[in-house]
Amino acid sequence: MINHRALRHRYLVILVAILCISFGSIFNQEPTFGQSSGSKNVIVAMTTSIEDSGLLDDLVPAIEKKTGYRLKKVAVGTGQALALAEKGEVDALFVNSPKAERKVLEGGAVINRHLVMHNDFVIVGPDADKAKIRGKKNAVEAFSLIAKNQALFVSRGDDSGTNKLEKDLWKQANVTPSGTWYQQTGSGMAETLQVANQKLGYTLADRATYIFQQKNLSLPVLVQGDKKLLNLYHVMEVNSKKYPRVNSAGAKAFINFVLSPEGQTIIAAHGKKEFKQPLFYVDAGKTEKDYGF
């Protein structure tokens, strides 16, 4: 009995030791533990495609070194990112839904909006291509054909930038998508691509996520190159005049860095090594007008 008790105590010591070690290492690594929006922290809400493509993993260390700010990046759909900005919950945005952004900009919730980079959207689908859209140059026409053939289309349905563009294309095609051929996942691009892949459906995807996921997919790109499929990424600062708790200096430092030659070089190089092609093309100094919007 005494032995057993000693043994039990030993295990208790091990348990406590595990907890202490985690405590110790956390406090070592977390000099600003417990605060999120102090002057040294910047919260950036961004689209999942930026997180999933690993772009910010390349940018964050350089930004933190250069500016001295600690970056907290929260990856959500563009819809949610804009909603967070409209409540003043975040300091800066890095998103890809120009139309929705302009509305928030006009409302005065965000300021200092700049084009950073672009890539494009693609329509992918099963190799058998029941709707016969392969090689079409017109995205709206491709959408009409999918609807006409009642071919399975998997939508993100999460109000993200991609989802907003998709809804826009349905509208232009004069289709109100409904019925069993139209399914909404309510999740991010990667999950939605995987659902489309497993169910052999069509979907609209941003090229960066598609390239990233390609090793897990059997869906080829069927439609690309339409100007409507251009994917523009903007950064903006949440208006600190409207929301006094916003870290305006930190947001500015973040925006200035991604637009600086150093930031733009990192963006342009991202993905080249891994995929032999860049995932994004840089646009500092340009505006939407340069692309005819």
Partner: protein, 232 residues
Amino acid sequence: MNTIIEGAFKAFELLTSGDSDVFQVMTMTLFVSGTATAISVLLGLPLGLWLALVDFIGKQTLTSLINFGMGLPPVVVGLFVSMFLWRSGPLGNLDLIYTPIAMIVAQTIIAFPIVTGFSFAAIISINPKLRWRLLSMGATQWQANWLLIKEARLGLMAAIMAGFGRVISEVGASMMVGGNIKGQTRVLTTAIVTEVGKGNYDVAMAIAYILLIITYTVIVLLTILQHDKKIL
């Protein structure tokens, strides 16, 4: 099928190579879930005991509330805690959203009713005559309660394990209030979601194995504490 096996190799590789990212996520997971469990035990065990031993008006209502809390959906807890901790929320001034503390708060709310409910059940299931017998044999109230706790040890340890198991495997609330920020609030479950998002199913599998190993290790240690003898 291949990914399932590859994941195991990858997990071994990550664990043995001392990958600092993985180590950081592991320690953060243990820190957040361990602390949340510890707080839940500190609050839940006494409450469970009190519920089992003391009669008062409204006891049934409180008990049913605790039992209801045992099934609280983590994502609902995450949503409520977010609303409170947001800058625009009532506790926004504390600057706690997207920090480990926010995650501990959410996980404690999830684990606390479980620990309380199981503790209550453990004590109440002991023969009620035992306490009267102890008291009649001259034990003080405190002594009688302490002996009851010792008698109910198996059930009380089960309460702790259930609470810990629930929070270490939880993802919805941690994602919402922690933000899944790399190097700051990423834990093993949210790291799995991220790796799936990146299409790295093998890494996701590897982290899943690591999560299972950690959970199993802690549960084994608790089980050994629960029983008097070594069970391995």
